[in-house]
């Protein structure tokens, strides 16, 4: 995967990298995670690590401590939030998640209420020992698996690339206003 500005991401996403690491979690690359490209662009003090690898500050410092640079870093996030690219990512996320949550919660609560208030309906036989209740219960399993698959596919195809580009652009911008502090 390449970012919008053509910069390589080191080892790419975590799965490939840890595939080669996983037999021995103690290999140096695991113990010195700070060489990882994901760590080179901390924004505004949320994830600061003090370089020595000893320990990070317990509570991230309040945004105000960064002074004027931080004020401009705040503007970066508002700017990104208002950009068309981010609005698009957010719309895609919400358009999938909101109906998805409504559907599975309604289906689950409906199942729960039917099972407790209308056991007669659930006991109606369908084939052999299998009744409506059994099918509904297995249907819950099936819809859970299906929605999981659909969500993962939607996120992978419709959101991941755009989100990754936004991530790097945002980090470039915040680093810019903070004068390459990282």
């Amino acid at each position: 995967m390449q970012s919008s500005n053509g910069r390589a991401f080191g080892a790419g996403d975590g799965s490939e990298r840890s595939a080669e690491n996983h037999p021995d979690p103690g290999v140096p690359s695991r113990d010195v995670p700070y060489e990882d490209p994901w760590y080179d662009a901390m924004a505004s003090g949320w994830g600061e690590v003090d370089g020595t690898g000893a320990r990070a500050p317990a509570v991230p410092p309040a945004r105000g401590e960064h002074g004027t640079q931080a004020v401009r870093a705040r503007d970066v996030y508002i700017e990104v939030q208002r950009s068309a690219a981010f609005q698009e990512v957010r719309t895609r996320y919400r358009r999938f998640v909101v109906p998805g949550v409504v559907v599975f919660l309604a289906w689950y609560v409906g199942y729960l209420i039917t099972a407790t208030t209308a056991p007669g309906l659930m006991a109606r036989s369908v084939a052999g020992a299998v009744n409506v209740g059994m099918l509904a219960g297995l249907g819950q399993f099936l819809t859970t698996f299906l929605l999981t698959w659909a969500y993962a596919r939607h996120a992978r195809l419709r959101r991941d690339r755009a989100a990754l580009e936004l991530r790097w652009d945002t980090q470039e911008l915040t680093r810019g206003v903070r004068g390459d502090v990282s």
Binding site: G26, D31, G47, V80, R90, M122, G133, F141, F145
Partner: protein, 530 residues
């Protein structure tokens, strides 16, 4: 239960303890003592590894022994639990996994406090997280104590007490010496063991019925003593409207609580990116779903092969259904096959409890050190290293859990787990969702959301029939029962959401537009994530 079972089960269990202690020593030899390493295991686990670890954290003895027992005793009504446990994962996947990974560092409070005034919020969320963890921990400790009695035939209180103390000591060692990395590997080993054991039993069971699931169900219904009613809802939660409402309350707590469990959320910090967090959630849904499908088969199988009356005779709550099924599938009591299978199931159940308590202890020690200690201490610079505090917090939590586990020995395990889920859904979920998705959410709203869910949830339990007023309650001699339901979820979850909304609209503070923009951009893109 003969001596053979016990010896073999003890040998197998000692083997598991030796392996896990080996993992802990091996991991701790290379440790550097950074917070990144202790809380998040260096964040370099793969999605598959983390998926197995999440499944290991989630599949507790309550589901392996408790739910199969409920199915064996009550048939369909036991199955309703399993559905709730699984559907809950859609809430985690859709609304929490990626966003929490992107916004936080080590704990739930990191996500929530970023937008708000930190101190009061960290204290609030830290308190509720520790409360949830301790409730869940006590449930597992009580389970460990009774498991000894059930599986090793040691019924004396002293033996149960020693089992609780032993489990507590082991979990403290794992967590304080090995941190997240050791805990994760222990979860992976345990998940593989538990899944293999479950698959083996399911295959043996289906072979016995020649793959005819229909016949298995009919035999189960026949031997349950309830006939076809066994395969339909209503045996346990039918009857009075209170019982039905109680069940709906439990169902809501199960489905909404998982996304508020601190030890589940903190697992998403062990992978490098939000994409990896999503993929580990997908892995865990596959593993957990498969596991629960098999527990349904095993539950009905226990009724069909062992018979409901025999299960009830061994343990009134049904907790021995799976071990008894293993004994029968292996060839019955006294046979070599039966002895071996029984011992394996007993050892796997112990391993399950041990791994789950380690995961919860780690999450709660992170809440104590990273949220409570970091906010409550006066001087910032001179304080001892946060990780050292977390290691000692693990010791402290272990001591508290052992003490409460000994006190609560007679409480029902499934009830305690349901209560932990209800508190998580009432206190942690509203504040998490509001701060991720509500632009106008303020500090006061957040603090109110936490306490507005936590206090009613705990208060309603105190006033419920669990604590007083009925022969089965904790204090049967007094009666201050004013709330009819055992599970407070149906009241306390809406109260948590309502309190957050009320606190926000009544506060003078105007939500900081820039901080919400930062939360939103970070949560969806991963900008600036660690």
């Amino acid at each position: 239960m003969t001596g053979q079972h016990q010896t073999l089960a003890l040998v197998l269990f000692s083997g598991f303890v030796a392996v896990t202690l080996g993992i802990t020593t091996w991991v701790s030899r290379r440790r550097q003592g950074s917070a990144e390493e202790f809380y998040a295991g260096g964040r370099l686990f793969s999605p598959m590894e983390n998926g197995f670890a999440i499944a290991g954290d989630y599949m507790s003895a309550a589901s392996f022994l408790g739910v199969t027992g409920l199915i064996a005793l009550y048939g369909y009504d036991g199955m309703l639990y399993v559905v709730g446990f699984l559907v809950a994962w859609l809430v985690v996947l859709f609304l929490a996994a990626e966003l929490v990974r992107n916004c936080g560092r080590f704990t739930l409070a990191d996500v929530v406090a970023a937008r708000m005034s930190e101190r009061p919020l960290r204290i609030a969320v830290g308190t509720s997280s520790v409360t949830v963890s301790v409730l869940y921990l006590v449930a597992q400790m009580v389970g460990a104590g009774s498991l000894v009695a059930l599986l090793l035939g040691r019924t004396s209180t002293a033996d149960q007490a020693w089992a609780v103390v032993g489990v507590g000591a082991l979990m403290v060692i794992y967590v304080s010496l090995g941190g997240m990395r050791a805990t994760t590997w222990i979860q992976i080993v345990k998940a593989v063991l538990l899944l293999s054991g479950t698959i083996a039993l399911t295959v043996l069971l289906l072979l016995r019925f020649h793959g005819d699931f229909d016949r298995l169900l009919l035999t189960a219904a026949d031997r349950s003593g309830h006939g076809r009613a066994y395969l339909a809802p209503g045996l346990k939660y039918g009857g009075t409207w209170t019982a039905r409402l109680d069940f709906i309350s439990l169902g809501l707590a199960l489905v909404l609580g998982t996304a508020g469990l601190p030890h589940i959320l903190s697992r998403f910090y062990t992978v490098p990116t939000a994409r990896a967090a999503r993929r580990s959630a997908v892995w865990s849904i596959g593993l957990i779903g498969g596991f629960y499908l098999m527990t349904i088969v095993l539950g009905f199988g226990a009724a069909a092969v062992v018979g409901t009356e025999a299960v009830r005779g061994s343990n009134a709550a049904g907790n021995t259904a799976v071990p008894l099924l293993a004994l029968h599938l292996g060839g019955g009591a006294g046979s070599t096959g039966g002895t071996v299978l029984f011992a394996i199931v007993a050892a796997v159940a112990f391993a399950t409890i041990l791994a789950v308590v380690a995961g919860i202890t780690l999450a709660s020690s992170a809440s104590v050190a990273h949220d409570l200690y970091a906010s409550l201490r006066r001087s910032r610079g001179t304080a001892r290293s946060e990780v050292a505090v977390a290691r000692w917090a693990a010791v402290g939590i272990g001591a508290v859990a052992i003490a409460l586990g000994l006190l609560a020995r007679d409480l029902n395990v499934a009830f305690l787990v349901g209560l932990a889920f209800a508190v998580a859904a009432s206190a942690n979920l509203p504040v998490l969702l509001y701060s991720l998705f509500w632009r106008g959410f303020t500090t006061r709203g957040a603090v109110w959301a936490v306490y507005g869910g936590l206090i009613p949830a705990l208060g309603l339990v105190l006033l419920s029939p669990v604590v007083s007023g009925s022969p089965a309650s904790l204090f049967p001699d007094v009666d201050f029962q004013y709330f009819p339901l055992q599970n407070p979820g149906i009241v306390s979850i809406p109260l948590g959401f309502l309190a957050g909304w009320l606190g926000t609209i009544t506060s003078d503070e105007v939500a900081d537009e820039a901080k919400y923009a930062e939360t939103e951009v970070r949560s969806l893109t991963g900008a600036g994530a660690v």
